[in-house]
């Protein structure tokens, strides 16, 4: 076993350690590198910015705790923006395990912005069915959600006045960690009920949503923690996402270095084997 081979076979726990340190150090000692805003994120932001006061904004938080670090900051930033613009906000989720998180973020941001449940916003909670739920909301919102999350009859809520179906909603944003997310909202919702649709998603599924972005089926896309950081920059309220960007930079470079090292050693091993065979 030569040097390159030995290097390739080092204990992987050493690499675990490297990654742990690369994440931890920038979190403890942040640098604050500048963040450039992409047009995808700007699409969502500018649309909310253009909505007049009192417009109806539906935020569907379609994720579970596994994706909390990526999508929770997005939800916070979007809700802050919507509340600041005095939009009427409807919160919900298509993912059962995400109900508690969605409830938490709605309550927290509403309290911070001085908004009242039932008057300025409503949290509908979770309901089964995904696609059929969305169709049902498009047909009759009150049939799909007879009561909100806190068992208040939805028909009596001031915030929902004049809203009968999804057609009366001005903007829907789905924060998705997988299917039953943005695509579901398009196929079963926007396709027929014609509201404007935007998306936020985890990094894993972001590349798959570009065809919808290109064709204008969604008018913007917030991708992962980086997307959330861009949104925080846009609304001028820096939070967890911006704070994580330095660590993100450090880990990405650590991975890039590791990939390069892997291939250098791989090449070395390959050439030395070839030389060995030639002899």
């Amino acid at each position: 076993m030569n040097f390159a081979e030995r290097m390739l076979h080092i204990d992987r726990r050493i690499i675990f350690l490297v990654i742990g340190v690369c994440t931890l150090l920038p979190l403890l000692y942040p640098v604050g590198l500048a963040i450039k805003v992409s047009s995808e994120v700007r699409g969502v932001h500018d649309y909310i910015e253009s909505l007049p006061e009192g417009s109806v904004f539906l935020l569907s938080m379609d994720y579970d705790p596994a994706s909390k670090p990526e999508l929770y900051p997005q939800a916070v930033a979007l809700l802050r923006h919507a509340f600041r613009k005095n939009l009427r906000v409807i919160g919900m989720t298509l993912w059962l395990p995400g109900t508690g998180l969605a409830d938490q973020v709605m309550t927290q941001v509403a309290r911070e912005m001085g908004k009242v449940s039932g008057k300025d916003y409503v949290f509908l909670g979770w309901s089964p069915g995904s696609g059929s739920l969305i169709i049902n909301m498009g047909q009759d919102l009150y049939k799909a959600f007879p009561t909100d999350y806190y068992n208040q009859p939805t028909r009596e809520l001031a915030v929902l006045k004049g809203i009968q179906t999804l057609r009366d909603v001005n903007y829907v944003v789905s924060l998705a960690a997988g299917t039953s997310g943005i695509e579901t909202w398009y196929v079963y919702g926007k396709d027929k009920y014609k509201f404007e649709l935007g998306g936020g998603c985890t990094g894993v599924i972001a590349p798959g949503l570009y065809p919808l972005l290109r064709s204008g089926q969604i008018n913007g896309l917030i991708g992962g923690l980086r997307g959330a950081a861009e949104y925080e920059v846009l609304i001028g309220q820096k939070g967890r996402a911006v704070a994580g960007m330095d660590a993100q930079s450090a880990t990405h470079f650590a991975i890039i270095v590791l990939v390069i090292l892997c291939n250098v050693f791989y090449l070395l091993v390959k050439t030395s084997r070839k030389q060995g065979e030639a002899r």
Binding site: L8, H9, P69, P211
Partner: protein, 224 residues
């Protein structure tokens, strides 16, 4: 009887399938009313499907405990988790002065059910997936090799996107951000679009086969 058992489900599938495909093209209020009602039903039936999903898990671990298979103690932990959470979900909250009934918060006060959710379920699931960060790193070092020209292309694209998506990359190599945008918006979008078209054709073919009774796997096993 044979008709009821074997043909009836297929007839139902055919009729509902054709009806709801056709519904899409019929804007008449009666057709819309049918859609409203039936999607409402599907929502409720969807809840029952969830119950179906978890029962097999109950069964597997019950067998493990009964036979005292290796690691059956962990199955007990699992059962404790299930029943503990259910008990708390239906307990009485003294702080809020009412029954919890599956609410994480009541009037802004966190319930015990919400506590379990936030302090157990959220960190557990979150950490489980955070583990992957470490494994991606070790894979990056040990096995992401440019075995072929194709794999090399993949790795180069990956490195560019990794640089272009973080502030440090854009600082060191400003052009990486633009290239990343181009890769995502043009190259990636074209491939994803082709895949999307392919998958959609597959999904439509499958749905058609189901409606016409050619594909019956969904009916599940079980003796007739």
């Amino acid at each position: 009887m044979i008709f009821l058992r074997r043909q009836l489900p297929l007839v139902i599938t055919f009729v509902t399938g054709v009806l709801f495909t056709a519904q899409y093209y019929v804007p008449h209020p009666r057709s819309e009313l049918m859609l409203t009602e039936v999607t409402k039903w599907l929502q409720i039936i969807g809840g029952f499907a969830l119950v179906l999903g978890v029962t097999s898990l109950f069964h597997i671990h019950a067998v493990k405990i009964r036979r005292k298979e290796p690691g059956w103690g962990y199955s007990l932990v699992l059962y404790a988790g299930i029943f503990g959470t259910i008990a708390v979900g239906f307990s009485y909250s003294f702080a809020a002065g009412q029954w919890v009934n599956g609410k994480e918060t009541i009037n802004g006060i966190m319930t015990a059910f919400g506590w379990i959710y936030l302090n157990m379920m959220v960190p557990l699931q979150g950490s489980m997936f955070a583990l992957l960060a470490f494994f991606i790193a070790s894979a990056a070092y040990r096995s992401f090799r440019a075995r072929s020209r194709e794999a090399a292309l993949l790795l180069i694209a990956a490195v560019i996107v990794m640089m272009g998506r973080v502030p440090l990359g854009e600082l060191l190599l400003p052009v990486s951000g633009d290239i990343t945008q181009w890769i995502l918006n043009v190259l990636n979008a074209s491939v994803r679009r082709a895949i999307l078209i392919g998958i959609s054709l597959g999904a439509i073919a499958l749905s058609l086969k189901i409606i016409f009774g050619i594909e019956r796997a969904y009916l599940g096993g079980g003796k007739e």
